[in-house]
């Protein structure tokens, strides 16, 4: 049985992919059946993933000795790719997290999407989304990973633009697709460069070749390749400066936001860096870049989140910030902390998004948190689960975020003090804006009259995720996550009491601060806003990055477009038109000879004969010589 699970791990992405095909082709209009197929498929993947985790634990499969299955995919001279499955603790934990969160999100969607005319379409897309992410997790080489990477991008495009009749949704879908595409371009070039340099893109082979290569010829070229490869994660994982698509991705339905932000698309980038960590970790310059990009993104996202008003937008910037943490952890060399935070974040962020979805669902899709207020008594279940999520992300013990964030901060403190300070400030800000969200939405007076109840399909996943968000961190801590998911020798996790208590105190302070501002209203929000003045304006307008990009687009893209239009109109079209009119001219000349009068033809014919005769007389010697050669050769 156990061996069956390992050797049939390829079924994990395949079954949801089949569900996509079946729903898309046949059962799209049958809403109930579509939901059953989709949830059933992901449930199968979840059970298989559980089996995989069990097998990994019981067989002692480690990151140094992964279980690999491969079949030949492309084999031509000089080019050889396999498709296959790699099972090690890293991919096992990813499979489990992705399939579990996807399963819960899909169950939630059964209730959330009720009554939508695109019900079947939604489940087919979301099945493909899960399939591509699961496929990405078990990829054994960069090419296979790139295939699924692009599939994930496609699905995000389809799902963000799910309400295609709604203009902002369409725009957001295009923005997500194009922005991540910029990163993917770098990734693709990086992969091609790897193939050119080493003749292979296989993770296992590269893992053996790269240390040899570095001792022989240094890290110069490899650093450039690494930066190109890192562009992919920058785009997909919403790192600065390609983060702009992520907040807009909330235009899709709430379950989609939960899936994108928690388990599928954005963690793909983190996972890629983790999977290719043998490459990244051997390049100190690149590690520095990753750490600083991550640290800056963490701070940057948090600094925008604390002034936003739309509930899902706050959560979106919070995701950017948390992903920054994961990158920071990778950059300072702690794969364990990064993956640990990825896991806990997947639970509490999907919980938060699903809660936000439930809140919006209940009050007619109102997104502005300042129009909500006082939902504590009307929606007790959502209130409790959301509170757990907020406590988890704020890093208060004993919730999950405390352990994972602390692991990151502890790892950072060992490497770089400035980055540690940024991390701690970000932690304070995170606690503050999440507390603000909680207090504004659930406390105070109720501003909404019509509050719908939410179905059981939506409540059950909330409870399960809340439980996971509460205990996953502690469970990971006592089960020695670091022995298991790691790079290099096992890291014994030990908590630094000083650092942990400092961040706890800061988070508590942020809560008190937020309570005074938004809960008890002891301090006036307006006065503070006014005092912050320009800082608040910049933060509220997201540092004007979107405007800056729009400006760049206007100057460069439109300018280039105009030049290209001119070139196309006058030069390209000119060449084509000139060619055609030249042909027309020659044909008009030649058609003069086509009189239809046999005598003219005969005259031309005899002229030709005479010319040939003249030639044969003038060149008599040469021709007879040629004939002699031809004759000599032939006979």
């Amino acid at each position: 049985m156990g061996q069956f699970v390992l050797t049939h791990a390829w079924l994990i992405p395949l079954v949801p992919a089949l569900a996509f095909a079946i729903i898309g082709l046949f059962t799209r209009s049958l809403h109930k059946l579509s939901a059953i197929i989709s949830v059933g498929a992901i449930f199968f993947s979840f059970i298989m993933s559980l089996g995989i985790v069990y097998m990994v634990l019981s067989l002692g499969i480690s990151v140094d000795m992964p279980f690999i299955q491969r079949v030949e995919w492309i084999k031509i001279a000089g080019l050889h790719f396999d498709m296959g499955v790699i099972i090690d603790p890293l991919s096992a934990i990813m499979l489990l997290v992705v399939s579990l969160v996807s399963l819960l999100v899909q169950i939630y969607s059964v209730g959330y999407m009720k009554g939508d005319k695109g019900y079947g379409r939604f489940f087919s897309y979301i099945s493909l989304f899960c399939a591509s992410m699961l496929g990405l997790n078990i990829s054994i080489n960069f090419i296979q990973m790139y295939v699924f990477w692009e599939l994930v991008g496609l699905c995000s495009y389809l799902l963000i633009g799910f309400y295609y009749y709604h203009i902002p949704a369409r725009e957001a879908a295009k923005k997500a697709f194009i922005t991540t595409r910029i990163g993917d371009f770098g990734l693709l070039i990086g992969i091609l460069a790897l193939q050119t340099l080493f003749g292979t893109v296989d993770f296992i082979q590269l893992r053996q070749i790269i240390p040899v290569y570095i001792t022989a010829s240094g890290t110069g070229v490899l650093t450039i390749i690494g930066i190109l490869l890192f562009m992919g994660p920058i785009g997909k994982s919403g790192q600065f400066p390609l983060h702009v698509w992520l907040p807009d991705a909330m235009e899709g339905p709430a379950p989609v936001s939960a899936l994108i932000h928690a388990a599928t698309m954005v963690v793909a980038g983190v996972y890629l860096v983790a999977r290719a960590y043998f490459l990244f970790s051997s390049l100190p310059v690149l590690m520095n870049i990753i750490a600083w990009v991550g640290g800056f993104t963490a701070f940057f996202g948090a600094s925008i989140a604390f002034s936003q008003r739309a509930i899902k937008r706050i959560l979106a910037y919070s995701t950017i910030s948390q992903l920054g943490y994961m990158m920071l952890a990778l950059g300072v060399g702690s794969l364990t902390a990064s993956m640990f935070h990825l896991m806990t974040h997947a639970f509490f962020k999907s919980l938060l998004f699903l809660c936000a979805g439930a809140v919006m669902h209940a009050i007619n899709d109102e997104a502005d948190i300042f129009k909500m207020g006082g939902l504590r008594k009307k929606m007790p279940l959502v209130f409790v689960t959301m509170t757990i999520g907020v406590l988890a992300i704020s890093g208060l013990p004993p919730f999950s975020g405390f352990f994972s964030k602390d692991a990151i901060l502890a790892a950072t403190a060992k490497v770089s003090m400035p980055l540690y300070i940024i991390g701690v400030i970000t932690a304070f800000m995170t606690a503050f804006y999440m507390a603000r969200l909680l207090f504004v939405v659930f406390f105070g007076e109720c501003k909404q009259k019509n509050i719908h109840t939410i179905s059981n399909f939506m409540q059950v996943p909330l409870v399960i995720l809340a439980a996971l968000a509460a205990v996953a961190g502690f469970a990971g801590y006592i089960c020695n996550f670091g022995d298991w998911v790691r790079f290099g020798p096992p890291v014994k996790e030990h908590m630094d009491i000083m650092l942990a208590s400092l961040s706890t105190v800061l988070s508590l302070a942020a809560f008190v601060f937020a309570w005074n501002l938004y809960g008890s209203k002891r301090w006036s929000v307006d006065a503070i806003t006014k005092k912050l003045g320009i800082i608040y304006t910049i933060s509220f307008n997201k540092y004007y990055i979107d405007e800056f990009y729009a400006f760049l687009c206007r100057i460069f893209i439109d300018g280039i477009g105009k030049i290209m239009y001119f070139i196309d109109l006058y030069i390209i079209d000119g060449i084509v038109n000139a060619a055609s009119s030249l042909v027309l001219f020659f044909s008009s000349v030649l058609s003069k000879f086509q009189t239809g009068q046999v005598q003219r033809y005969a005259a031309v014919f005899f002229c030709g004969v005479i010319i040939l005769l003249m030639c044969s007389i003038v060149y008599f010697d040469k021709i007879s010589g040629l004939i002699a050669i031809a004759g000599g050769g032939a006979f």
Binding site: S591, Q594, T595, G596, Q597, V598, Q599, A603, F606
Partner: protein
């Protein structure tokens, strides 16, 4: 004046060229047919002359000539039939009016 191969070949070439000229400039299909006969006869003369003047004469030139005359007779028969047919269709034997081959 001694009459040799040259004179015969000149005669032959002259007949051929007159025939060719006629084909190229005449407008009447009957005249063209007659000019074709002139060209054939020019060739026939050269064949007969070669047969007579070559150092080791045999009958091959004469045989060729008889072949050619026979084919010319057949050609005239078919050519005349074609001309009648053309006259029937176009109501003219002026070759300038018959330019259906124009592309």
């Amino acid at each position: 004046m001694n009459i040799g191969l040259t004179q015969f070949l000149v005669l032959s070439a002259a007949l051929f060229c007159i025939g060719l000229y006629g084909i190229l400039v005449k407008r009447n299909l009957f005249s063209i047919l007659m000019c074709i006969e002139l060209m054939l006869n020019g060739v026939n003369i050269s064949l007969a002359a070669f047969n007579y003047f070559l150092p080791m004469p045999d009958l091959s030139g004469q045989v060729m000539m008889i072949f050619s005359i026979t084919v010319a007779a057949a050609e005239v028969a078919i050519g005349l039939a074609l001309i009648f047919r053309i006259y029937h269709d176009f109501n003219t034997v002026n070759i300038d009016k018959i330019n259906n081959m124009k592309g």
